[in-house]
Homo-oligomer: 220 residues x 2
Amino acid sequence: MKEAIKAAEDSMRTGQGGPFGCVVVCCSKVIGRGNNRVTSTNDPTAHAEITAIRNACTRLQTFQLTDCELYTSCEPCPMCLSAIYWARIPTVFYANTRQDAAAIGFDDDFIYRQVPLPMEERSITMKSLLRNEALTTFRAWADKTGKMRYWSSNSYAASLLTPAINSISRASLKSTRGTSPTTSPSRMTRMRVHRPINSGNSEEIIRIAQPSPASSSSKW
Amino acid sequence: MKEAIKAAEDSMRTGQGGPFGCVVVCCSKVIGRGNNRVTSTNDPTAHAEITAIRNACTRLQTFQLTDCELYTSCEPCPMCLSAIYWARIPTVFYANTRQDAAAIGFDDDFIYRQVPLPMEERSITMKSLLRNEALTTFRAWADKTGKMRYWSSNSYAASLLTPAINSISRASLKSTRGTSPTTSPSRMTRMRVHRPINSGNSEEIIRIAQPSPASSSSKW
């Protein structure tokens, strides 16, 4: 958390953006860093958490961070909280609260109150248009073979951080597609190694090891 | 909307990601495009709306799109909806619904139900840590001079899209810092031209014209 707070201070001091910093941690190592860069990069989505998640995913070449923890200097706004859900990060540590952010002029709390409202009560005007036409695309997706899905318990991250275990995992993946792992269960129970794969309609998940205690508490 | 739906089809057909597309429109012109690229770029935040907003902001060199409309092939997930709030886009048109997305396996509806929950009821574990330390940074931000704020009604976008009016606006900005506009009110009422500026503690907003009818309906 001290690193996240330092990133927030640096963001403010260097004029990159608001006072928000974040790190993503996996296997006790920082594998992603971010700070608010909205105003300096003209990107309203460049919040500290989004930046750190993108950084971690780029580094690990994965789109899900199931074995990671996120440390942020302020409670995530709804955009960043939702990004944490999409990235499948199970644990978040935060310092300042959304009310603290509101007190210095940020809209986090306002947006938290807007998101659950019925559309017609939001400050944004939202209108439905061409639903039937768009449903055709959704039906085509449902029928598509060979598509890459978001796995609900995918984690490629931890394996990439641990070369020794990773080499075993990769060998296992080659030899165990759809079968039981050939590596020692006692060693592999330290982490899950799921892999995003191109699947047909039958969902294929390669399971190498048991879920870790931290991840098994997730409701995904 | 047809362009957004086409972007969704292209995303799916080319294997870039899920069946989601989006365009951002300003002054009847498409100024940002995006499609889902989560799996192909290993970026869980690369939803169609986020990508389109970032594209529009890069093109217009602004972090707020107050005079724009967003057309998306599916109701925005909470991450994208919140990004729309941060980008100050006042109007959204959508085709498929969150329930349609859930029906083909996406978590939009699940995350909508998670975000408003008290922390302890969410599937993500959230813990407070070092708040007092982080509050020091927020206090420093409150006291900081020369910081770039998020303006609540800033729009630099429209001016950049309309060279003729833009040239007038820029001239006006030079001549009217803190004073009344010198350009014809009848011409300038077509759009607002606010500008993000470095401000001191006294908040300085350069107002050139009246809010447009579309934007004045916003509660920001």
